[in-house]
Symmetry: C2
Subunit: 415 residues, 2 copies
């Protein structure tokens, strides 16, 4: 099995694959902006109009001509005649001239010819139609100018942008209610192995229930994709080839998970090579857990062989499959995994030349300003799914380091 | 408007509300484990059986009795007769006696009476039916024992647990294919204001399109809830009361967003008081942006008045509404917002006694080990939605600090 020693760091394996893929090959589809959360823009968007479209008051107070407040102070107030108000949501029916002011509400329009708003706190009523202003305002003060939020023709969002709540609001503000986004990538998932049975089954001695179809499908959903479960294929080349081929036809990406024995790894490599050209690109990662992963390409579609053990499969998915799904949608900057800082409770050994991901449990110690977050390694064989369930996240011992030390501050990738 | 000076820190306002709410009042519902990603467990779960159910080999090699390898070395190997193999997914049809071994595959079952596995790398074939073993193994070495992942009767997940991909896999591994989770909380959203029109409309001068219904609905979805859009009500007490009342009937939580003028704030407080007892609990937060927020309770259901400006509304949602939605599902530890560490490019002023959230744009500078992430404040009036769209996250200037300094390392809450 010489190919297993020809291993690549995960980032390099990913880069090699991405370079062979077209950028954003998935077609766009039109969706309602209200339903577009988490989708990825298929084209850049430009503002069709100014936002706001009219000069809006940023304060409750009085709109007036700033020049008329010049020199106003507590000792020498400026006097203004009230000529009316501009109610919320209404066009300005009044205009102000020299020494005149109109009542303004936060978010309401300025009176005609007004160029500033004086806050109500800087005024005093004199009588029903007169106020004094005790502080000068500059032109534009307390006013949101037309186009100040965004100007007609200005770029709003680039292509490949993952839509957040504020993006949706920014679009509805401009009257944009439908948008073209990348189609969700479809991921065909095939579990392989003579020992694997469906979760509904009672396993016979020697059999285990399928885990990876469900963890991987959930990871696909988290990355915005649509999982297609192909079920379980036994360790038979013809059966696997037929199932995987059907999967590749319907999907944009194929993910197989096989056992971790040498024979099932070899079967997976044969399978990906048998599906089409160029087949296997990378056979093995300098990663633990996750070393026996396979990265391939078949007729322009990425095909992955994940290790059978569920922890390895999840980590390889996260490092390789997830960024590929975003890439297919044209998103070059996938959302960063959530991390928290913590202090390690004990040394973690690692081998230089290999990335190690170590599950940790988080807890806090101390109180008030002394409170500190600690990360305690959850040791366990890497093939135990409950190791990950008992953990809150993963700590990375990087490629070029021989482990991490107790007391060291680390970034814990919440998982 | 004296109540606006009676402000509380956001965390204290939240705590006060949570203390008045029952823990996890939402009914449970049964869902397929395959569809349970992001849902919250309604009851604790216990392992129905041992995982794995049989002793599994963790390596490719030979299962045998560890005692028979005692003292084995390169110079003085121990010899074993091969009595067969245990194929993947099969019950062990062979047993090993003194000096006997059976072929074992990673994930396969041990032969009868075997208590350890010697890795193939530590063996040499002698002839077709004999191997030599050059390293001793301890009992249990390279074996996953029955129940080692999880033992029958052991707690699997507590109630109130947010289900991650690995949790789903851990459940299918044990044959659990349906699970009871908290019902998704329904959140009725009412936009209020004479100036607000639907996104499909062409606003007349003085009018603006609805933003908050869409940002808040997306935030509700992110928190696992179901948004119910009640539409837009003008600044008329009777109309608002009727719409909000209908919303509260169908939903678990009411969120109103009103204008930021003093009169619309007062209308919102009157509305929440008018809906039922106890009504308004907190009127104003020591928070910027977001000060004019209202926290209330009506007939046991949380009711929020969010400031009309979209940035304030989103921040108040994040700090108050989001944790309430998780609480209603019985989840006391909502997922932490994703943060990244960065260095501030410039000073940020803040007032002690107030939490300030400042939108920042992230970028990197330098290369290789010198590479550093920087956070540059996106200054802009807090009522401009595109301030948040141009930002990658928020930096908090805490309650007890008078600002942050250029060069300071800060945690940026990705937003």
């Amino acid at each position: 099995m010489p190919e297993f020693f020809n291993v690549l760091p995960p980032a390099q394996a990913l880069q090699g694959l991405l370079e062979l893929l077209p950028r954003s090959p998935l077609a766009g589809e039109s969706v309602a902006v209200a339903d577009a959360l988490g989708r990825i823009t298929a084209a850049p968007l430009t503002a069709p109009e100014d936002l706001p479209a009219f000069p809006r008051s940023a304060m409750d107070g009085f709109s007036l001509r700033a020049a008329d407040t010049f020199g106003a102070s507590e000792g020498l107030p400026a006097y203004f005649s009230l000529v009316g108000e501009v109610p919320m949501g209404m066009d300005a029916a009044v205009s102000v001239g020299l020494g005149e002011a109109a009542v303004a509400y936060t978010g309401g329009m300025l009176a005609g010819h007004a160029d500033a708003v004086v806050m109500v706190e800087n005024t005093q009523p004199v009588d029903a139609v007169t106020i004094e202003v005790v502080r000068p305002v500059a032109p534009g003060e307390n006013v949101v100018q037309p186009g100040e939020d965004v100007r007609a023709g200005e770029p709003l969002l680039p292509a490949g942008h993952l839509l957040r709540p504020q993006d949706l609001g920014g679009l509805t503000a401009l009257g944009i209610t439908r948008i073209t986004v990348a189609r969700r990538p479809k991921v065909a998932i095939l579990a392989m192995g003579d020992e694997v049975v469906a979760p509904e089954s009672i396993p016979s001695p020697g059999q285990i229930r399928d885990v990876n179809s469900y963890t991987v499908a959930a990871q696909v959903r988290q990355a915005g994709g649509i999982p297609i479960l192909l079920g379980i294929a036994p360790d038979d080349y013809g059966t696997q080839l037929a199932a995987a081929g059907r999967g590749l036809e319907q999907a944009d990406v194929l993910v197989c998970s096989a056992g971790s024995s040498v024979s099932s790894r070899d079967l997976t490599a044969d399978l990906i090579n048998g599906l089409g050209e160029p087949g296997v690109l990378v056979h093995g990662l300098s990663l633990r857990p996750g070393k026996p992963a396979i990265v391939g390409l078949v007729g322009g579609k990425p095909a992955f062989g994940l290790p059978g053990n569920p922890v390895s499969a999840m980590i390889v998915f996260d490092l390789l499959v997830r960024p590929v799904l975003y890439h297919l949608c044209g998103c070059t900057a996938p959302p960063e995994p959530a991390t928290v800082a913590a202090r390690l409770t004990q040394d973690i050994a690692s081998a230089p030349g290999r990335e190690d991901y170590i599950p940790v449990r988080l807890f806090t110690q101390g109180n008030g300003p002394e409170e500190e977050r600690l990360a305690e390694p959850v040791f366990g064989k890497s093939n135990l799914i409950y190791t990950l369930i008992r953990a809150d996240g993963l700590v990375l011992a990087p490629l070029d380091q021989a482990g991490l030390y107790a007391g060291e501050r680390v970034a814990v990738r919440l998982f």
